[in-house]
């Protein structure tokens, strides 16, 4: 079992605990309906997000990656998102070189109070990914490929 074939795309989200994860909670509390594709990985701060996590996901078959942190100047850890902004922007510049559509990766800022904004971001991003073809997957070695095939039995 994975994403629902035909219905969903594989979208991985990296959210900082203090703002955006809270924002997603706020959206939930507000019952703001969202597409079901996104799977959220919770990290303490957007500064914790190594751009290589994003690359790893996209090389590994994710159709899209969404990163969200606290608004600039409002980082729980004071400066984490300032660094993140630079790194994520650089990452966005790297992806097209290897043949990954840069539209597959977006980053944004959503505060814990912005449930509606979160709903909007998720909806828009999911729409954007659905408009693209399924992500091409760089060949994995057959041995490793087989591991996945029998996973979850």
């Amino acid at each position: 079992m994975s994403v629902l074939t035909g219905k969903e795309r594989r979208i991985v989200g990296f959210l900082c605990n203090w703002c955006s994860y809270g924002g997603a909670d706020t959206a939930g509390v507000g019952r703001f309906v969202q597409p079901t594709d996104l799977r959220i990985i919770r990290v303490p701060c957007s500064g914790r997000i190594n751009p290589l996590f994003i690359v790893k996901a996209l090389l590994g078959g994710a159709d899209g990656v969404l990163v969200s942190g606290c608004h600039p100047r409002d980082c729980h850890y004071a400066e984490g998102n300032f660094y993140a902004r630079r790194r994520l922007e650089m990452c966005k510049n790297l992806l097209p070189l290897v043949g990954i559509d840069p539209k597959r990766f977006e980053y944004t800022w959503v505060s814990a109070s912005e449930g509606q904004r979160w709903q909007h971001v998720v909806t828009e991003f999911t729409k954007q990914i659905h408009a693209l073809p399924p992500a091409p997957v760089f060949p994995e070695s057959p041995e490793i490929e087989r591991l996945a095939a029998c996973a979850g039995e």
């Binding site: 690359v55 922007e89 650089m90 790297l94 070189l97 043949g99 944004t108 828009e124 997957v137 760089f138």
Partner: protein, 317 residues
């Protein structure tokens, strides 16, 4: 200029552990990194279009000792960046610079030689200002230097050492870098690029010469490429893992790469891995107006930030 440089090396030699430069290589088309300790060893010093290797890669090994280094403009940028990042101490290195006219790309010589002759069959060569003549058995083949010069030299902004303690010769005019190589690559569609790397990376043997030839790869023996904790890469022979390593390297070099091109040159199977770093270098220049290796006083752009980033156009939702 050779003799003047040798003079400068001899002058510096008494104060340093050794002077790193270029010496005779294993075949006529190649020089080798050369470590001079005694004045008589300086006689074999080689400079010119064959002085290809970047000697800065060795500098961090000599931390704590004072060494001399002969640098082309591009090499000097590596040294400057090493100093900026604290990998090398300024006071521990004596920099000897000279105006560089460009170096050869052995793959381009191979291309000029044609299908039937390999560079390894060349028995001798001679170089004039704009020609290079190689002898294979009894025949000689002359090529234009412009056709065999490394790509990086065509867009070299800093032919002279950016920083030097001794400078020999008359500084040369730099060129501009318009990233034409990237523009050419970007003619490919997204799908074509994907297919290109799928093909290219498939022959990678994971020797990590690209990494070890990089003067700014600081991790050396502790690279994540082979570690299990953290476990970024598995050991399977797959294009994905090989490509991912290149993206790791490029990400780690983002805003730090000085464009010496050693990664591409070192690749034994000729994968153009320098493109990854070039992309990051262009991004750093566009976004942060930062050019690594030109000023030892600056902080690499990804190790700092600005509260307002006017050049980062964030998406409006």
């Amino acid at each position: 200029m050779d003799d003047e440089l040798k003079g400068a090396i001899r002058k510096v030699l008494p104060d340093v552990d050794c002077v790193i430069g270029w010496g005779p290589g294993p075949d006529p088309l190649r020089s080798a990194p050369f470590f001079m300790r005694k004045p008589e060893e300086v006689d074999a010093f080689v400079v010119g279009p064959l002085a290809v290797n970047n000697p800065a890669v060795f500098l961090p090994e000599y931390k704590g000792k004072k060494v001399g280094i002969v640098v082309k403009g591009c090499d000097s940028r590596s040294v400057v960046q090493q100093i900026a990042e604290g990998l090398v101490k300024r006071e521990e290195v004596v920099i000897i610079g000279f105006p560089c006219s460009g170096v050869v790309d052995i793959q381009k010589i191979a291309a000029q030689l044609g299908q039937d002759i390999e560079p390894g069959m060349v028995t001798s060569l001679s170089i004039s200002s704009d020609k290079l003549t190689v002898n294979v058995k009894d025949t000689a083949k002359t090529m234009d230097m412009a056709d065999v010069r490394a790509d990086k030299c065509a867009s070299c902004q800093y032919p002279n050492a950016v920083v030097s303690d001794e400078f020999v010769g008359t500084p040369k005019e730099g060129k501009t870098d318009d990233y034409a190589d990237l523009a050419a690559f970007e003619e490919k569609s997204i799908d074509e690029r994907f297919a290109f790397w799928e093909q290219e990376m498939s022959r990678c043997i994971r020797c990590y010469a690209c990494r070890n030839a990089c003067p700014l790869c600081v991790c050396r023996d502790h690279c994540v490429a082979t570690s299990r904790e953290p476990h970024w890469l598995n050991q399977a022979d797959s294009t994905r893992e090989k490509l991912f390593f290149q993206l790791i390297h490029a990400t780690h070099l983002a805003g730090r790469c000085t464009g010496c091109g050693e990664c591409s040159r070192a690749c034994p199977v000729g994968i153009p891995v320098g493109l990854f770093k070039r992309t990051m270098t262009r991004a750093a220049a566009r976004l942060f107006d930062y050019q690594a290796g030109t000023n030892a006083e600056t902080v690499p752009p990804l190790q700092t930030f600005a509260t307002e980033e006017p050049t980062i156009k964030e998406r409006e939702w």
